[in-house]
């Protein structure tokens, strides 16, 4: 074994080292004056020192900017005068994504290596004790779930020892009482309830035997909340009323009743599919990866995006991923560090890690990340939310999968390892401070290049017709993928055939490991040879692990010995319906009482600086939002490319002007007052953003993602019922069908005093087909001398508003979408844009007209004057601050050139609209209040600075 250490020639150019120094000094170690970071490669195998030096000089070092040193086993690397030296190395079993590339490059150089492990080596200069350095390293460099700190000459951890296979082991369920059954469920991390354990016990009692360990695990995976949505499909008693399957009664019902002819496949594949053009459909899926991101933000978020991309690869016969979206909810980044409960990472660290994880995975996959949002609220402290979405392009004719007996089961892509054990059951449990130990296997590091290789070959194999069904290996690993594909046929799998990353996995681990970057195909036997050769031609592993049968049974073998024989029907239909109670009572809240300020300048600046409203440019620029060459409306727009676009649009087919528009709506503050109206509000928000950019609701589909607390709590569940009913009503009114959705429960964090539950959070993602991208508009003001209009009615409904938040209040009246008039307003706004009357259009959301107008002005570098006296409003309160900051839904601000005024007003007839002012050459925004005084008089520069300052560097 040789250790190769690569150091920087000019460490002052190393931004990571500089950042680490700043962090460690912030952490209190002000005696540290310098940090340098080395890259370390440990290469194993039968190789000479010359060979190690060849690798160092020809491969590892960049001699223009770096130096190298090679150490044999037993030699101590030079400390280079540092006071403390430590290394951060991956834990055994965690994938080291660099290993594969180094093995390949070494072999190209004629050096055969056995194994490679990489590490980062930190040299600290100055005053601190070793234990202080170790604490600091775990505070922001290492994370025990995936890596560890090595100080001094600690031995590297040993790989696993292989255990001898002695036949299947059984779990004693027969004759056990309830206490025993629950002890088994908990002890094995199965997250199965007592009624589910009883059902399994009955089933096996009828068979006259006990289940094997792998049978029980397979049932637990397949029956997990993550996989079957027990809560949504359960039987709920809601204030005396019985709801049988909430999903069918609300979300799915809306889609069925709307029966849009352009919906191709809804709710039954890995993503929802709608028509795009004659040759292609578009599919869209949004997932959450909350629990893993709480424990290991970088790996959790990266594998989140990797997972949702695989959902799209596994839709129909495989769609090409063409865009990603990301929405996050965090506690505020300046949360006091000493007030954070045990076991929780600081929100700033979570945010940095999540952004880096999405960046590194999405960028390496070559999928543009084009749309997103970030919400800050301290109730996300223990449970940050990470929503990842992917849009795919699916050729017409590739919509359906076929699985027939005799087809081969082929696993392609990454190898199986001990990473990601119990992800599906993990996501069905609440977190607490010991989680990093209990669930550490559930968290992984992804390898996007493996997934990219798989994607490239899959698209070719699909076009050659080499397979007839595909699904991703996600939660539950092979158990879910094969179990699902073989549901109507039967399947037999020889588990020892699955390629492994290393020895030492039990047969159960092989079966349920959620190791990343794997897909499962059903391959007609006559195509198997060609398919395997195609994958090999691009260095992607593909292995036949079994075949589909006509027995209706799932049979698993390990080295020829049968270890499982499950009835597919029991596996998929046996799960007992969950019965739960739900209640909901409106909250009694009051509006804050305070006198209206004479000037609202300070309030507007405070709103612009709120992290939820503030510029996300720091995040957006780290994502490649233009790869694939189809960018048509960017997330950042305006005269300096830094204004907040309402939506993003791509052209997925490069020789066509047709586009796909993505937008989203999210506002968890409203759920505190009434989740029903939150449902209406966020659907309205998503659609009005579609409209603002030039889309229309007639070709818009929606996705729902519910992130909730513990559904066994009747109040939580009552909130869910209210929100789902809101979704139904709004989707029906706007005629926008749901095509896919996902839920994530148990987002609560156990602390000694109880739990921290997230606010019920509903993300609505909207996707709209755009006929001609050249008709789109952006939100930045374009020219002085144009009219400014507000479309939509402003009401005194301040509940949940950000203005009330400045006064530490939630308030009484949640904004209510008027479903009778809102669809018409949307259509008129779309028509005005289509007619070319509108040069800029921005929707009003958090911070109301004040924030929206300010964003339009500073993004365009064009001033404006607005008179609140001309605002369409339905109130007699006489307060300018309410008019300016109300978050009433279904409103936009538009810039209309004088020569289009008449046409615009004709189109708008019947919908409230008001000419509130004009754009100006002066670089200021002035708002005249109801009393005739200027309530806002600010320069574009100071507003923009307030908006950009908060998250300029995180």
């Amino acid at each position: 074994m040789y250790t190769i250490v690569i150091s920087q020639k000019n460490p002052e150019m190393d931004a990571h080292a500089r950042g680490t120094l700043a962090d460690i000094r912030d952490h209190g170690l002000t005696g540290i004056t310098r940090v340098e970071v080395d890259r370390v490669f440990r290469v194993e195998g039968n190789l000479s020192r010359d060979a190690a030096e060849l690798l160092a000089t020809r491969l590892f070092v960049d001699p223009v900017v770096e130096t190298w040193a090679v150490y044999a086993a037993g030699e101590t690397p030079d400390r280079q005068g540092a006071s403390h030296v430590l290394e951060i190395a991956y834990n055994p079993g965690v994938m080291d994504p660099v290993e594969g590339s180094v093995l390949k490059a070494s072999s190209d150089l004629g050096v055969a290596l056995g194994a490679v492990r990489t590490a980062a080596r930190y040299r600290f200069y100055g005053e601190a004790t070793a234990s202080e350095i170790l604490d600091a390293a775990y505070a922001f460099l290492a994370n025990k779930t995936v890596n560890h700190v090595v100080m001094g000459n600690d031995d590297l951890p040993k790989p696993f020892a292989a255990e001898e296979f002695k036949g299947p082991s059984h779990v004693e369920l027969v004759d056990r009482d309830d206490d025993d059954l629950m002890a088994i469920s908990r002890g094995r991390g199965l997250s199965l309830s007592i009624s589910e354990m009883r059902r399994i016990k009955e089933h096996f009692e009828q068979l006259g035997r006990n289940p094997t360990d792998i049978e029980l695990e397979t049932l637990a995976q397949t029956w997990s909340e993550h996989c079957v949505h027990k809560t949504f499909k359960g039987r709920i008693e809601f204030d005396g009323e019985v709801i049988d399957n909430l999903l069918k009664q609300t979300i799915v019902k809306a889609t069925q009743e709307l029966a849009k002819p352009w919906c191709v496949s809804v709710f039954d594949d890995n993503a929802g599919v709608i028509e795009f053009d004659e040759k292609n459909h578009i599919c869209f899926k949004v997932e959450t990866h909350n629990h893993p991101s709480a424990l290991e933000p970088y790996g959790g978020a990266g594998t989140g995006i990797g997972g949702v991309i695989r959902d799209v690869l596994g839709t129909g016969l495989g769609a090409k991923p063409v865009a990603n979206t990301d929405v996050f909810c965090f506690a505020r980044p300046d949360y006091p560090a000493d007030e954070i409960p045990d076991g929780i990472l600081h929100p700033r660290r979570i945010m940095r890690g999540v952004v880096a994880g999405v960046r590194d995975y999405g960028n390496r996959m070559g999928v543009p990340t084009v749309n997103g949002a970030v919400i800050f609220d301290d109730r996300y402290l223990g449970n940050p939310l990470v929503y990842c979405g992917t849009v795919g392009l699916l050729p017409v004719g590739c919509e359906r999968k076929t699985v027939l007996p005799g087809m081969k089961i082929v696993v392609v892509g990454g190898r199986t390892g001990r990473d990601g054990i119990h992800g599906a059951t993990f996501s069905s449990a609440e977190l607490g401070s010991d989680e990093e130990n209990v669930w550490s296997n559930a968290v992984q590091i992804g390898n996007p290049i493996t997934e990219k290789k798989v994607t490239d070959v899959l698209m070719m194999a699909r076009d050659r017709g080499l397979y007839s069904a595909i699904t991703d290996c996600g939660a539950g690993g092979l158990s879910s993928a094969v179990g699902e594909m073989g549901e109507r046929t039967g399947a037999v799998v020889d588990l020892e055939r699955a390629p492994l990353k290393y020895e030492g996995l039990s047969y159960t681990e092989v079966w349920i490991s959620e190791a990343q970057e794997r897909m499962v195909l059903a391959v007609p036997p006559q195509h198997a040879e060609e398919l395997l050769a195609l994958f090999e031609s691009e260095n992607v592993e593909a292995t036949v692990i079994g075949e589909f049968t006509d027995t209706g049974r799932l049979v698993l073998r390990y080295h020829g010995v049968e270890v499982a024989d499950l009835d597919m029907r029991f596996l998929h239909k046996g799960v007992p319906q969950v019965r739960r109670n739900a209640v909901w009572r409106p909250r009694e809240e009051c509006d804050p009482v305070f006198e209206e300020p004479a000037s609202l300048n300070a309030d507007l600046l405070a709103l612009l600086s709120h992290p939820t409203i503030a510029s996300k440019e720091w995040i957006i620029r780290q994502y490649d939002h233009e790869v694939q060459g189809g960018s048509a409306l960017k997330p950042l727009v305006g005269v300096e490319n830094d204004g907040p676009s309402d939506a993003s649009v791509i052209r997925p087919v490069l020789d066509s002007e047709k586009g796909v528009l993505l937008a989203n709506g999210i506002n968890p503050r409203y759920s505190l007052l009434d989740p029903y109206f939150m449902g209406l509000a966020v659907i309205d928000e998503a659609i009005r953003q579609v409209v603002a950019a030039g889309g229309n609701r007639g070709r818009t589909a929606l996705l729902d993602n519910f992130c909730w607390g513990n559904p066994e709590n009747p109040e939580r569940l009552g909130e869910l019922v209210r929100a789902a009913r809101g979704c139904y009503e709004a989707a029906k009114a706007f005629e926008t069908p749901f095509i896919s959705g996902k839920d994530s429960f148990y987002n609560e964090y156990a602390v000694p005093s109880g739990t921290i539950a997230i606010p019920p959070t509903l993300l609505i993602s909207a996707i709209c087909v755009i006929e001609d991208v050249r008709k789109l508009v952006s939100m930045d003001l374009k020219e002085p001398g144009h009219f400014v209009y507000v479309v939509g009615l402003t009401r005194a409904e301040m509940g949940g508003s950000h203005y009330w938040m400045l006064h530490d209040a939630i308030g009484r009246d949640v904004p209510k979408v008027d479903l009778a008039s809102a669809p018409t307003a949307m259509d008129k706004m779309s028509a005005a844009i289509r007619a070319g009357c509108v040069r800029a259009c921005h929707d009003c959301s958090e911070g109301g007209i004040g924030v929206a107008a300010a964003e339009m002005a500073f993004s365009g570098g064009v001033g404006c004057e607005i008179d609140l006296g001309h605002l369409p409003a339905d109130s007699t309160h006489g307060r300018s601050d309410i008019l300016l900051f109300s978050e009433s839904p279904t409103r936009w601000i538009c810039e209309v050139p004088p020569d289009r005024q008449k046409e615009f007003e004709t189109i708008m007839e019947g919908t409230p609209h008001g000419r509130v002012g004009q754009t100006t050459a002066s670089l200021r925004m002035r708002v005249t209040g109801l009393s005739g005084n200027a309530v806002i008089d600010l320069s574009l520069e100071e507003m923009k600075e307030a908006w950009q300052r908060t998250l300029r560097e995180v």
Partner: protein, 257 residues
């Protein structure tokens, strides 16, 4: 005749489709070919006029950006590649392709034992996607013929800081007319960050070899070949030709000469 363009793919290439599309729009016959196919059949290069190494993260940019593919090309394909360059074949490396060309030594093409320049990590320490102005500088580079005023293209990279082992190397590049683009403002004046998005020495964004037929550039011309690619297209009534097209058209023209 439409010149044959070979867009080389490897694990982690990800701008191959749109780069091939840009060459098609410019009048080329573009094909995306995996590096394994070229290694099996190096004669593929013989009927190729333009070899393109597109953007992406080949082999994850593990070790350093473009290094593993550069290593692969020089161990598996060095002879046919050098022959291709010697016979005047055109080579274009964009972003990751530029990193690959520098790490193979095909750029600056000085036949050195030890590399004298590289593309190091951005001074900002992170990946950034942003639009930049580029002043064309080289009179002999075939890809920028006819370009005088600054052009506007996006960059998207984490390791794009062009840097050399000594100021003499930079002088030599300038003296040889090998500097193709410098980051500037819209008028061609010097800029700091973010106009120079990565902190490159002397704001160098692209270089070519001495004959001007092998070029590597960090910005992405294939991302500005359609009017709606421009980040401010909604602000303008009539747009001119998208700036990136000229690079591809020049390459096609040079191949046809």
């Amino acid at each position: 005749m439409r010149p044959h363009v070979l867009v080389l793919r490897a694990a982690g290439s990800n701008c191959d489709v749109e780069t091939a599309h840009a060459f098609s729009v410019a009048g080329g016959e573009a094909q995306r070919v995996h590096v394994n196919r070229v290694a099996e059949k190096p004669s593929l290069l013989e009927k190729t006029s333009i070899l393109v190494i597109p953007g992406g993260f080949t082999y994850g940019d593990d070790v350093s950006a473009g290094k593993v593919l550069a290593n692969e090309l020089m161990t598996r394909l060095s002879e046919p590649l050098l022959r291709f360059v010697e016979r005047g074949g055109l080579v274009l490396g964009i972003c990751n392709g530029f990193q690959v060309l520098v790490k193979t030594g095909l750029l600056p093409g000085w036949d050195e034992q030890t590399p004298s320049c590289t593309l190091a990590g951005n001074l900002s320490g992170r990946f950034e996607d942003r639009w930049v102005w580029l002043q064309p500088r080289s009179s002999q580079c075939v890809y920028t013929r006819g370009l005088e005023k600054p052009i506007y293209l996006p960059v998207a990279h984490a390791e794009g800081r062009f840097t050399a082992s000594s100021p003499q190397v930079l002088d030599r590049l300038a003296g040889n007319d090998q500097v193709v683009f410098r980051y500037t403002d819209a008028l061609g004046n010097d800029v700091g960050y973010p106009g120079n998005p990565n902190g490159a020495d002397r704001s160098i964004a692209a270089i070519c070899n001495i004959p001007g037929r092998v070029m590597g550039m960090m910005p992405h011309p294939e991302r500005h070949i359609h009017p709606t690619h421009h980040p401010q297209w909604t602000r303008k009534s009539g747009n001119g030709r998208p700036d990136g097209l000229a690079i591809f058209e020049n390459a096609i023209r040079a191949a046809q000469e």
